[in-house]
Amino acid sequence: MEEPAIQASGLVKHFGKTVAVDGVDLLIPRGRVLGLLGPNGAGKTTTVRMLATLTRPDAGTAQVSGYDIVDQAHEVRRRIGLTGQFASVDERLTGSENLFLIGRLLGFSRSDARTRAGELLRRFQLENAADRPTQGYSGGMRRRLDLAASLVGEPEILFLDEPSTGLDPRARRLLWSLVRELVADGVTVLLTTQYLDEADTLADEIVVIDHGKVIAAGTPEALKRRIGARTLLLGLVDAARMDQAESILSHIAGHAPTRQGERLGVNLSEHAMLPALVRALDEAGIEVDELVLKDPSLDEVFLALTGQPVVTEAEHEGTSR
């Protein structure tokens, strides 16, 4: 079996009396994107900091690309890229100086470091700002430069700690498409986020974390299916038969359907219910011209798992720093 990109078991980290991370297990196969999803203070960043060798775990072990994060930290560092929550580029250097410096630190010759910096600036659409100090960059540009800085050494594994916090929607979409390109090139990504749409868009698998513990894991679809039922939305050809349809549906489903505009919504608590509903309507001669199966949103998933609502898109814009 191929060695996983990241394997962690029982990671624990205390800060004073607070337990930031309380026994986290993770397994990420190579070339996959894992989204670590959770509210502020759930322990996402601390988990990433341990895996990126910035903080030693108090208990538990982890291997990144097969190397132990404590005993072989240096080998780990040669294979990872880290893009932090707060863009960690040097504000007083230009974009190209920042990337040049990283290249030099990684042992590139002067000319190789310059070439690599140029490539990355082009790829991340920063060519025009290459010779300007990063102080004057917009949030999105800074984040792209930060991501570029993490990629100078062509890492196998990339840690993205809340990559789109504080970005406007356009900048987020651009960043997401850049991340997808990296994944297409075979890079393994561990992404932390408190935004469900981000995890849903980028991740192959989501691990939900709260109070330092993993509370759920699975593909976005599996997670959505696990929690809460799917909803069947029905549109009728003849709106006058709405009441009749309502009573048939409520008889089979065991609860009254909801009216959503011109459509009726029924929660499907079991799979066999779907054909039964359709058959009953057909037998009554009620024609259906629209059938939609709706997964629960990740917001609903999160509420069900943690008992607390998650940050919404509107708040998201407001929390930019």
Binding site: A52, E75, L82, R104, L105
Partner: protein
């Protein structure tokens, strides 16, 4: 498998990081001003405004004060090492370096190296201006080099205190506030601007014991003649003491801060 970067690679990394600190100066003219215009302004002000009153003539005062102002300026320049380090710690740049295969000591060593370049620049600038204004070397070129080397050694040692401040402070502004507030009394309550025997008796003991005074005495001896051995040795002893106390404290504080 190598456990850590080879020494030559670590040195390359140190040089690259020192380059970074120096390139930063282009974007921060105020910092450059602190090494350049501020001491020059101090020198001109004191020599031409107070010089006549304090020493009877501006020429004599220039001779008296130039070694002292080199020492005083050196102390203030060390604040920037703490400021820069704190900026890296609070803005996440230090984490970026730590998540890379960079030698653990290279970020600090790079800063210290860059700091020495800045210190050297300040010394050359102040002495150069002094010579232009009529300062005369009474000893020898060797004395001049020995004096510069002594100031650099002291700067290197004293930097560890500012490194500690840089690690402990909440943000870069606090480093600056602390640095300047602490250094003003320390540098003024010394023999940099006035001879010790003009001070009230109770103050003379404090001023003579102040390492700034000791180092200034050593620099005067090396440039102008007079007792050299004792102040140089005491200055080196102070340097050793600063390193012995603040280097381990700084490393412990850094380890604690990084968790």
């Amino acid at each position: 498998m190598r456990p850590s970067p080879a020494l030559s690679q670590a040195l390359d990394q140190t040089f690259s990081l020192a380059w970074r600190s120096l390139v930063q100066l282009r974007r921060n003219p105020w910092e450059l001003g602190d090494y350049s215009f501020q001491p020059v302004l101090f020198l001109l002000l004191f020599v031409y405004i107070f010089g006549g009153a304090i020493a009877g003539s501006t020429d004599e005062y220039l001779t008296f004060m130039l070694p002292g102002i080199v020492v005083m300026n050196m102390m203030f320049v060390t604040v920037y090492i703490g400021h820069g380090l704190n900026t890296d710690l609070t803005r996440g740049y230090f984490d970026r370096l730590r998540a890379m295969p960079v030698a653990r000591w290279a970020p600090l060593a790079g800063r210290i190296l860059a700091d020495l370049v800045k210190q050297g620049w300040s010394i050359v600038l102040l002495l150069g201006l002094g010579f232009l204004l009529g300062f005369r070397l009474e000893t020898s070129i060797a004395g001049l080099f020995a004096m510069s080397a002594l100031v650099l050694v002291f700067a290197l040692a004293f930097s560890w205190l500012m490194i500690l401040v840089g690690i402990l402070a909440r943000d870069p502004e606090h480093v600056q506030i602390f640095g300047f507030t602490a250094l003003f009394p320390v540098t003024f309550v010394s023999n940099v601007f006035v001879p010790v025997d003009t001070l009230p008796h109770w103050l003379q003991g404090v001023v003579s014991a102040n390492p700034v005074s000791v180092l200034t005495d050593a620099c005067r001896g090396l440039l102008l003649g007079g007792p050299v051995l004792s102040p140089v040795l005491v200055s080196l002893a102070w340097s050793l003491a600063f390193v012995a106390v603040f280097l381990p404290l700084s490393l412990a504080a850094l380890r604690r801060r990084l968790g």
